[in-house]
């Protein structure tokens, strides 16, 4: 059976884009305001997901404090409007810049950390931001109650009030984000990010400034989360430290992972699963979260690469297992390449060569003294003279 993903792939991309855009524009028209608000929320989280996808999906940096930048953007917008009477629209660039600045500030000293260590620092940063806001930092953030009384945005003389107007506003920025992200994906910078995710040492040896590229990913992703925060304030003229709650960061992270890390359609699938669905299932009340948890556990076991994974990430996670065990991913597979069949020759790609790794060798050397390595019966025959 061919999967949906494979079947959808046949339709030319232009029709796809036009069709989806038309759907996104027309969908809320027959709906009630409640469902329009749900759509607004979905689009907003899609922007957040896409911005986090740059950090987590492309550059492979674990960022579990994304909501902090969302909150920073929201508070920047609110504070500028409340204290300096800046029209809301003009605060948006400031939100982007402030989030970018903090993104740089926080990531610069920790960018060389890998995986879990980076993750812990970003969690800590998220909490720092939330606590700073709760504790009414500089006496301007309104403490745990947050800020209220923020103006409505005015666009060409039109005051944006209704959920529908706000939905279109967010949709506009979503399309903009999509455009930018898709171009980033197929660019020199995007390729550099993938190289870093695949093998950082090799990327560095090929002349890619890994620190710079990773910083860029972090800063761009954070900046865009700041914009999402500003858009939130435009619709909900009340901000509170709840925006920076850890669970918000987790939801954003799950959006990226659930749909498929590094995959743009995956972000939308993830948003539907993590934001829209729970909202629509409100009638289940407390059972809702429990089922969400169960569903996620099941999914991570059955389909760890996500619901709509990017081709590359699927391979990274499934690896050879997919080819050998014929794991039913449902996606049409290319016919096996006859030239990749080197069954007649010994396989040197795995552990054998790891033995000669510098560090492994040194460990062996320290434990067993010099020449601790197996040179007799060396399967590679490298010492044959």
């Amino acid at each position: 059976m061919k999967s949906l993903q494979a079947r959808l792939g046949r339709i030319p991309p232009l029709w796809w884009q036009v069709g989806l855009l038309a759907l996104a524009v027309l969908l809320p028209l027959p709906m009630s305001d409640y469902y329009r608000s749900v759509l607004w929320r979905t689009a907003l989280y899609a922007i957040l997901g896409l911005s986090l996808n740059i950090i987590v999906g492309y550059a492979g940096l674990f960022q579990l404090g994304h909501a902090a930048f969302y909150a920073l953007g929201a508070y920047t917008s609110a504070l500028l409007n409340l204290y300096l009477d800046v029209p809301l629209i003009l605060t948006w660039p400031a939100s982007v810049l402030v989030a970018a600045f903090f993104g740089y500030l926080i990531s610069r000293p920790i960018i060389h950390l890998r995986g879990d260590y980076l993750c812990v620092v970003t969690i800590a940063f998220g909490e720092v931001v939330r606590l700073a806001l709760v504790n009414n930092i500089f006496g301007i953030t309104g403490g745990a109650n947050g800020l209220s009384g923020i103006d409505r945005p005015v666009l060409f003389g039109l005051v944006l009030r209704t959920p529908l107007q706000h939905y279109y506003l967010v949709l506009f920025f979503l399309v903009l984000t999509l455009f930018a992200v898709r171009r980033l994906e197929n660019s020199r910078l995007g390729r550099a990010w993938v190289c870093i995710r695949e093998d950082e040492t090799a990327a560095e040896a090929m002349g890619i400034d890994t620190v710079r590229a990773k910083l860029l990913a972090f800063v761009v992703g954070s900046a865009w989360a700041g914009l999402a925060g500003a858009l939130y304030v435009a619709r909900v003229p009340v901000v509170s430290p709840d925006l920076a709650r850890f669970i918000e960061s987790v939801v954003m992270f799950c959006i990226v992972v659930l749909g498929g890390t590094g995959s743009i359609p995956g972000v939308f699938v993830g948003t539907l699963g993590m934001v829209t669905l729970p909202e629509l299932l409100r009638f289940l009340q407390t059972w809702r979260d429990a089922w969400m948890g169960v569903a996620m556990v099941v999914m991570m076991i059955a389909r760890p690469e996500g619901l709509w994974p990017s081709r590359r990430v699927r391979m990274e996670i499934r690896g050879e297992e997919e080819e050998e065990a014929g794991f039913p991913t449902g996606v049409e597979e290319d016919p096996p390449d006859p030239s990749s069949d080197n069954s007649g020759e010994p396989d040197f790609s795995g552990e054998v060569y790891q033995l000669y790794d510098e560090e492994t060798y040194l460990i062996t050397l320290l434990e067993e003294g010099p020449r601790g390595l197996p040179s007799e019966g060396d399967p590679s025959g490298k010492d044959a003279v």
Binding site: A180, R183, L184, S187, R188, L189, G190, R191, A192, V194, C195, E198, D199, T201, A202, A203, E204, A205, M206, G207, I208, D209, T210, V211, L216, V220, R312, M315, E316, D337, S339, S340, N342, E345, P346, D347, F348, S349, Y353, Q354, Y356, D357, E358, Y361, L362, L365, L366, P370, R371, L373, S375, S380, K382, D383, A384, V385
Partner: protein, 286 residues
């Protein structure tokens, strides 16, 4: 003047001296072999040259410029003042450049490209994309270039692809252009790694056991390729265990044992050197 000069290079890991006061030169346009028993410190030397490790003692000069030196025990000391590199005072910047050690990508930019002992391709990228990564440091488009795609970015992309294709053709991998790197047979993966390194436009190519795991025919092809690379003006420094390769293509050989240089010379000289025979070739017939 030698293209690459190693001066009293020493690297210690804790109490273990992996490389011990090694001094040798790589001359422009030659193929130099670096041999020695397992654990003699060959790969450590490569990692020192390419900036993955910083030496404990000694220096490395590439084309007259110092590319590696001991980090003056100074990371803790200089990190808080990293911003001085941006001061508009030339002498300060020069001082900074003296203090800090070069990072691997900067060394690649200067013209040293390498391959790895354990093949390190970008496995889930295509052959073309892998080689395109080598062109990265010769191009400039960044974030804005990627999003707005001005004419210079389009020209650059075209350049990246054409340059990558040139090296794919050079290594005879045209048929696999859009194949994923991990699906290539082992021998072709080795070739792809060399193609990727060549795309970085190096003056010095460093090959870490390029013939490891190759069969007879592939090894002969590889020797041919290495000669071609040298003839196109690129200096080659290689580690190799396969004596047929080493004796066949290297003009000079440096022999290491326990981190120390024990011999240097033409293949014939090295083969006759009693210390080499004792340390390395003695156990088996040559």
């Amino acid at each position: 003047m030698a293209l690459l000069e190693l001066r009293d290079l020493t690297k210690q890991f804790g109490g273990l001296t992996a490389v011990d006061h090694v001094t040798f030169d790589v001359h422009e346009g030659e193929i130099l072999g670096l041999i020695g028993p397992n654990g003699a410190g060959k790969t450590t030397i490569f990692n020192l040259i390419t900036g993955i490790y910083a030496p404990t003692e000694g220096e490395i000069f590439f084309d007259g410029k110092r590319i590696a030196h001991p980090p003056l025990g100074a990371r803790k000391f200089i990190t808080p003042v990293w911003w001085v590199q941006w001061l508009p005072v030339r002498s300060v910047r020069e001082q900074w450049d003296q203090l800090r050690t070069l990072r691997p990508h900067e060394i690649t930019e200067m013209g040293i490209a390498r391959t790895f002992q354990t093949i390190r391709l970008f496995k889930n990228m295509t052959v073309l994309e892998n080689v395109m990564a080598g062109v990265h440091h010769r191009t400039r488009a960044g974030l804005w270039g990627a999003i707005f795609r001005p004419p210079f970015q389009r020209r650059e992309e075209a350049f990246i692809v054409s340059e990558a294709e040139r090296w794919i053709r050079f290594m005879g991998l045209e048929a696999y252009r859009d194949e994923l790197a991990k699906n290539l047979p082992y021998g072709h993966q080795r070739r792809l790694e060399i193609a990727r390194a060549l795309a970085a436009n190096p003056r010095l190519l460093i090959l870490d056991e390029p013939a490891a795991g190759l069969n007879e025919a592939e090894t002969l092809e590889l020797m041919d390729v290495i000669r071609q690379i040298r003839n196109s003006g690129i200096t080659v420094l290689l580690i190799e265990h396969d004596m047929k390769v080493v004796m066949g293509i290297c003009e000079r050989i440096v022999v290491l044992d326990y981190g120390k240089k024990i011999a240097e010379g033409t293949p014939e000289e090295v083969q006759r050197n009693p210390r080499v025979i004792q340390a390395y070739l003695g156990e088996e017939e040559v």
